[in-house]
Every structure is written in structure tokens, then in C-alpha cells.
């Protein structure tokens, strides 16, 4: 019987170290491992370097002052007002050092790390201010093979984005680290795991291996046991991003409902505007354990319904 990797959020937090480089899966405000992000925010860890297709994950880490450096292709909430307020504050206050890059460069850097290569060549980045963002850390490489016309291509040498830890959320998993996505997009969660030393998976549904493989087509089995060190059962853990409401999103033509809690995301943004509203948000939703968070979110949703009547 393979190792049982089921763990608690506290087990994961106990393994965090100051200054580590962490990769966070998902994309923008889609299937982010928010329960793990909330656990990191509650921990004492500091000076993190974060690699991400950023959304409110990066925002919440910035709000808690956890981020020293960020590597990202973009930061977006994916719906109005689009720009994450805490990331924006950290940036305009000059609190974080950024290595902003083209979206394709993030994938490229993770692939290089996954293959244990020091770099991979890519066109994206040439001629843009990405090179300035990297302040000399990003170099070019010349092809040893000239083109047919005799000129030689010089490309960005995207360095491997090696991670100390990867944090991902998948909708369905077993206790050993086999896991599947059920929505329309795997995003890059397998690459984050492949690029990392320690791999932390949170999942909405923890099921037997047999149920897992019978529930989804084989192509959806994104992670296998070699990709995962700990599995944390976190129902609704991706909230308020696309929360793994996968059965609808699995359908062929669904374009409108990704299960994101748009109202709560807007409440997060509105709460960030003033110190007192943020203090209230933080006290109710962040300075609490995950179980309390989920309970308070349900209560908040009920309050909204009552207000709407």
C-alpha cells in the first residue's frame, strides 16, 4: 500500500521556512490553493519569494507582508475591478522586488526546472522591459545553428524557476497524491509540482484511488504519486476563486459559471480600501482557522441574501 499522505494545514505550515521560494498553482482567480495561502498567512513564515500566475493568492500574501520577491506573468482578479488591491499597494509602496515576465516565460521557466535544465530558450521577452525588470538576472543565449540566411538567432535564456515548495488545488484526489482537475483547464499545476522539492496538494474531495480513476477520464489525472508529498482535504478550499464546482464546468459548453464567488471577491477588494474595513475583514476571515473561515463565508453569503431581499 503506497504511503498515506493525508495531512492537516498545520502539518504543512510546520514545514515552511523563512525565505523559501514557493510556487502557487491555478491562474488569476481560478483554482488557487487558497486554504493553503490562508494557512501561510496565519503562519510565522516571512520573506517569501513567490512564483505565480497571480491573483488574490498573491494579494493575500502581500496583505500579510509575507512577500519579499515575486516572479509572475500577470496579477489579475479576472473580473472587475481586475487589479488586485494588495498587490497594487505592495508595488506602489515599493515593498516587494519583482521579476515580472511574459506569461509564456513562467511556463518555460517551470519546464526548465521540471527537466532539471539551467535554462530554456524563448523568444518572449526580447525587446520588452522584462529584461529591465530582471536587473541583469535575465540573459540571452545565441543559437549554435545559424538560420538559412546566415543570421543567427539570439533568444532569451529563461532560467529554471526552481521551487522549494509548490502549492496547488485540485478538485479530486486520493490519499497518495493521485489527483484530477474537473474543470476546462489544468492550468500549470503539474509543472509547479514538477519544479518543486516539496509538493503540497489541497483538494475538495478526498476519495479512494478506485473512485478517482472511475470518476474522471484518464487525461484528467494530472498528478501522480511522484508529484506530491502531502494531501490536505480542504472542501471549498479554493474559495473565493473558481472553487472546483467542476461538474458544470466539465460540460462542453459552459462559459459563464466557474464557481468563483464574485460577490465575496468584490467584498475582499472593497475591504482593502480602508484600514478599519480591512481589520474587520481580517478579523472575521483571516485570523481564523480554515473551518471557521468556511463557516463565516457561509454566514456572510446568507447575510448578502438577506440584504438583497
Amino acid at each position: 500500500m503506497p504511503t498515506d499522505k493525508t495531512s492537516t494545514l498545520d502539518d504543512v505550515v510546520a514545514e515552511l521556512r523563512d525565505g523559501m521560494t514557493i510556487g502557487i498553482g491555478g491562474w488569476g482567480s481560478r483554482r488557487k490553493p487558497m486554504a493553503l495561502v490562508r494557512a501561510i498567512d496565519r503562519s510565522d513564515v516571512k520573506d517569501l519569494t513567490v512564483v505565480t500566475y497571480g491573483g488574490p493568492d498573491l494579494g493575500l500574501l502581500c496583505a500579510a507582508g509575507k512577500v519579499r520577491r515575486a516572479y509572475y506573468g500577470f496579477v489579475s482578479l479576472d473580473s472587475a475591478p481586475f487589479y488586485d488591491p494588495w498587490f497594487a499597494k505592495a508595488r506602489t509602496n515599493g515593498e516587494i522586488e519583482v521579476r515580472e515576465m511574459d506569461e509564456g516565460m513562467v511556463k518555460c521557466g517551470l519546464e526548465a526546472a521540471a527537466a532539471r535544465l539551467p535554462f530554456l530558450p524563448i523568444r518572449a521577452g526580447l525587446g520588452s522591459d522584462v529584461l529591465k525588470f530582471w536587473e541583469g538576472e535575465l540573459k540571452t543565449v545565441q543559437s549554435p545553428y545559424p538560420d538559412a540566411d546566415g543570421r543567427t538567432q539570439t533568444l532569451i535564456a529563461m532560467p529554471a524557476l526552481k521551487l522549494d515548495a509548490a502549492f496547488v488545488h485540485l478538485d479530486l484526489a486520493d490519499a497518495h497524491g493521485n489527483a484530477a482537475y474537473t474543470g476546462v483547464d489544468p492550468y500549470f499545476d503539474d509543472l509547479y509540482c514538477a519544479a518543486a522539492e516539496r509538493r503540497y496538494l489541497e483538494t475538495d474531495q478526498l476519495v479512494s484511488t478506485e473512485v478517482l480513476v472511475k470518476t474522471v477520464p484518464h487525461q484528467r489525472l494530472l498528478l501522480n504519486r511522484m508529484n506530491v508529498d502531502r494531501v490536505v482535504h480542504t472542501p471549498n478550499g479554493a474559495h473565493f476563486t473558481f472553487a472546483g464546482a467542476g461538474s458544470a464546468a466539465s460540460g462542453p459548453n459552459v462559459t459563464a459559471d466557474y464557481g468563483r464567488d464574485e460577490k465575496f471577491q468584490q467584498f475582499y477588494v472593497a475591504s482593502a480600501k480602508e484600514p478599519d474595513t480591512w481589520e474587520a475583514f481580517s478579523r472575521r476571515f483571516l485570523q481564523v482557522d480554515e473551518e471557521t473561515y468556511q463557516r463565516e463565508v457561509s454566514a456572510w453569503q446568507d447575510e448578502q441574501k438577506e440584504d438583497g431581499q
Binding site: V184, A256, Y258
Partner: protein, 256 residues
């Protein structure tokens, strides 16, 4: 032209000129992925697909490739799968034409959607560079600016997200595919066919004067005084825009 048709044309709205100008971006594009990033260019891409460019690939903006050409905000039968990771494969292949927005564009086509101010301590944060560096260096790129102003079209951009023509190293073949094809705004249609690949006016929408464009642009646009009017939509195009693609008038919210 019948009386009915000319009457309809007389009432063509500014947003409708913008939509057909965005459709014209894709003229001759062939079998590539059209990736519009805002409602008006989305309507343009779909209009092109329903008229002269049936082989364009379009997606739902998420991960599915549409078989049909649904109206804005609508779904329909699909023909394929295009998750984000595969989009990057398409970008690298060159078989794509993206229409991005822009917070700033300069006379050489450098574009910014990242942030304003210094790189490590901006005065205003937007998205970061997103896919702009990869898009511009790999395949045709156009821009859509719903409010043409000197703030957008200034002397220089704060952060180069999308690469402009003055950044090209002719000795390096990796720059060979840089192709900033068009800029469509609420005032007109432009390209970078001016001297040294600078911005040039191709047409101004009916009712727009050269002075109005000049006042709202921080640099000189070539050919502005001689720019003709944007062409009229055909009756078929008007019908497709109004009855099929955008019956609720989303276009009029973006272009007032």
C-alpha cells in the same frame, strides 16, 4: 443602394464603425486563432468570421474553441480544446492575431499595460506585462483603444510590455515576426506604415476631424490631413452586428 439601405447607413453609430474596423484587422488572416481581448474587437473578429474570414479560429475566452460564431456573451457548439498552456504553444507557432488593449502606445508601437511609473515602485499598478512581450515578438498584434487620448498616445510608454518597431534588432532573426498590424480607436484606424515604422492614419471615422485626432495624440501622426473616411459597413455587416452578434448593444457601452 435602396432608400432603406441608405437610411440605415445614415444612422451608423460610431461603435459600428469601430466594429467593422476591427473586422478589417483580420482581412486575409486565414486559418489562425483570432484573440480579441475586449468586446468591440471580439465583435470584429466574429463579424470577420461570418463574412470574409470563415477559417478563423475563435474561443470562448476560457478554454474552448467555438465551432459556430455565437453572439457576444453567448455559447455554442465547440470544435476543440484550448487551455492556457496550449495558447502559449499557439503564440510560439505564430498562428495567431491578438487584439490587446493598451494603457499607453507610442509612435513606434511600444505598448504598456503593466503599470505607470518606475518598474520597482510604480505610481499605479495594472496587470503586469501579461502575454504582451510574447504576443508582439511572435505573431501579428493589433490594439484597440476605445478612448483615444494624449494620455494613451504619448511621447513614450512607462513600461514596454508590447514591443514596438524601434526595438527591432535587424541582425537578430528572432525579431522577424514583429508585426504591429493596426491600431483601431474610437476616432479612426491607424498602422505603423509611416517613416521609420511610425504611426500613420489610414482612415478617420465619419464625423472625426484631423484636428480632433491631433489634439488627442501626444505626437505627430503621419498622413493625418489626408486620411480618408472609414469605409461604410455593408447592409449585411450592419445586420450581423445589430441582430446576430450584439443585439443588446454592448458595443455602445465601450464606445460612447
Amino acid at each position: 443602394m435602396s432608400t432603406v439601405e441608405s437610411q440605415a447607413l445614415a444612422e451608423v453609430g460610431r461603435a459600428e464603425y469601430c466594429v467593422i474596423s476591427c473586422a478589417d484587422i483580420f482581412s486575409g488572416a486565414g486559418e489562425i486563432m483570432a484573440s480579441p481581448m475586449a468586446p468591440v474587437p471580439l465583435l470584429g473578429a466574429r463579424l470577420a468570421r461570418l463574412t470574409t474570414e470563415p477559417d478563423l479560429l475563435i474561443t470562448d475566452g476560457e478554454a474552448l474553441i467555438f465551432a459556430d460564431t455565437p453572439g457576444i456573451g453567448k455559447s455554442g457548439p465547440i470544435e476543440g480544446w484550448m487551455p492556457f498552456r496550449k495558447v502559449f504553444d499557439v503564440v510560439a507557432s505564430g498562428r495567431r492575431h491578438v487584439v490587446m488593449g493598451a494603457n499607453q502606445i507610442d509612435r513606434y508601437g511600444n505598448q504598456n499595460l503593466s503599470a505607470f511609473g518606475p518598474l520597482q515602485k510604480p505610481t499605479r499598478q495594472m496587470f503586469g506585462v501579461r502575454g504582451a512581450p510574447g504576443n508582439t515578438i511572435n505573431h501579428p498584434t493589433s490594439y484597440w483603444v476605445p478612448r483615444h487620448s494624449a494620455r494613451v498616445f504619448g511621447d513614450s510608454v512607462d513600461i514596454v510590455s508590447g514591443v514596438g518597431f524601434d526595438k527591432v534588432d535587424p541582425a537578430n532573426p528572432a525579431f522577424d515576426d514583429l508585426d504591429i498590424h493596426r491600431v483601431v480607436t474610437n476616432l479612426g484606424v491607424f498602422d505603423f506604415g509611416g517613416a521609420d515604422h511610425t504611426m500613420r492614419a489610414l482612415s478617420l471615422h465619419p464625423g472625426v476631424t484631423a484636428d480632433e485626432v491631433a489634439e488627442n495624440t501626444g505626437f505627430e501622426i503621419e498622413g493625418l490631413a489626408d486620411a480618408p473616411e472609414t469605409r461604410q459597413p455593408t447592409a449585411e455587416e450592419l445586420s450581423l452586428i445589430r441582430d446576430v452578434l450584439d443585439p443588446r448593444g454592448v458595443r455602445n457601452k465601450e464606445v460612447r
